[in-house]
Assembly symmetry: C2
Homo-oligomer: 311 residues x 2
Amino acid sequence: MQYAGGIDVGGTHTKIGLVERNGRILSQTRIQPDARGSFDGLAKAIAEALQRLHAEAGGNLSSIGIGNPGFTDRRTGMTVGGAPNVPCLHGNSLSGYLGSRFGVLARADNDGTCAAAAELAWGAGRGYPNFLLITLGTGIGGGLALEGRVVRGARGFAGEVGHFCVQQGGYGCVCGGRGCLEQYASASAILRLYQDRRRQRCLPLDPSLSAEGVLAAAAGGDGLAMAAASEAARAIAQVFGSVTNLLNLEACIIGGGLSQAGDLLLRLVREAIPDYVWPLFAENLRVLSAELRNDAGLLGAAALAWEALPA
Amino acid sequence: MQYAGGIDVGGTHTKIGLVERNGRILSQTRIQPDARGSFDGLAKAIAEALQRLHAEAGGNLSSIGIGNPGFTDRRTGMTVGGAPNVPCLHGNSLSGYLGSRFGVLARADNDGTCAAAAELAWGAGRGYPNFLLITLGTGIGGGLALEGRVVRGARGFAGEVGHFCVQQGGYGCVCGGRGCLEQYASASAILRLYQDRRRQRCLPLDPSLSAEGVLAAAAGGDGLAMAAASEAARAIAQVFGSVTNLLNLEACIIGGGLSQAGDLLLRLVREAIPDYVWPLFAENLRVLSAELRNDAGLLGAAALAWEALPA
């Protein structure tokens, strides 16, 4: 039996699993190494967990894929920025460490790119070789495929769709820019769009409210919540539409935690997209929900591992 | 001697040339078939002109490339829309006709995609396998390369960067959308941005003024002209920056007629781009002028012909 190792590195915990080429997860585990400790500590804890799963399964480890937060240099596998919650990754290469320890091909990439690889192989991207995936969570990430291949760009940083400018001079963003998609359609952005509207009308604010709660309120008929959801959807549609015009995409896929909060957002994006797409390009354009949910991170890492091996 | 045939189809005239693999134009001619007449008339006139050049040169015709206005379906070579100035192309395939008449591989593509192929092979894109080209003329076109390959997308329509939305609810556009780049940075847009500002101050309008004239006035110290040029440059920078974040580009290239009107626009775009790019992505990003000028259309078509043949 052959399987790839998938490693989904996060700030609070790291998931490790063995995944067959068809996307079936054979086994998985979760560890909580000290992400703020040393790189050696993190790397050894991951390697030991992977070794245990591998010994239990008793098959062939084909390759290893690692989904990292932040920016991973495609040539070195080194994290070169953008991973504040796992600072020990910075300047180090988990793929270099695990590849030599297990004697197999190991690759690392940004988690958005991994998610796109997984949707392409096993999810909503099957049958659509040209798509953009936007993952909506606390922040916004993403990845894209063209002609059936995941796009990485010059240094491997492609997919930073959260920092696509949708509004000249709009809200300031962590990246230093203004008007980024992340400021209009991430979970925190949707919450802010709603709270701003309530504040303007002197309505009380519920400090425990989440973006999912705003979407639920919108679906339930709350007009201000619907206005916030619509503004977020328009920003997403603007990006999907513009990129469709640029790349002649055939599918736009919404993933991440927020995509699981009912289908309101998907419906609003679908309604708004024709305003941003050349009609000829819109003809066969599909707007879809990502299919891989709870295990998306782990599957994304494993998809990276399989992508590197010819079928 | 081996050469490709390049055909640059336009509304008023069509250029035909023989081009070596290194981009040297051996010979060229220009015909003015009736673009509003029959497809057969257009196709025969082009074939005869190409045949004459080929007979004079007396070498091997490797392949034929055709740069079309509008949208060309990559599978059929058929023009399926967006070519109002050459209506007889619609529903027909020049590449099908010329390929079978000359017995060689013939391919057709949008002129923006052709221009990107030429810059990649022989122009500013050499050494930058990941770039976006924006061509500024009466309208705005473009094309892009990723990992050293020209991007075509699902049906071959990729590169419509003129219909990238830079302003929610902005100026209406011919595509039916609003706020498209073409409404802010094409020649007619720059002229309008300037005239609007003059009108607002009750200053007289010069009906013979061109966009090149506006750029020259801006370079000469006219404040309103500079404001118009800056607004155009910001829109261009917004697109370059957003797409760099999405695709991790290493070069942004400005081409088309307007790119030849001094270097003011290039300078303004360079100044504005950091406002739209994640700093790590900006580190090695180049903003360049296209190198292929007068013969860009013909070379673009020929680049398409050579691109199809392994080196």
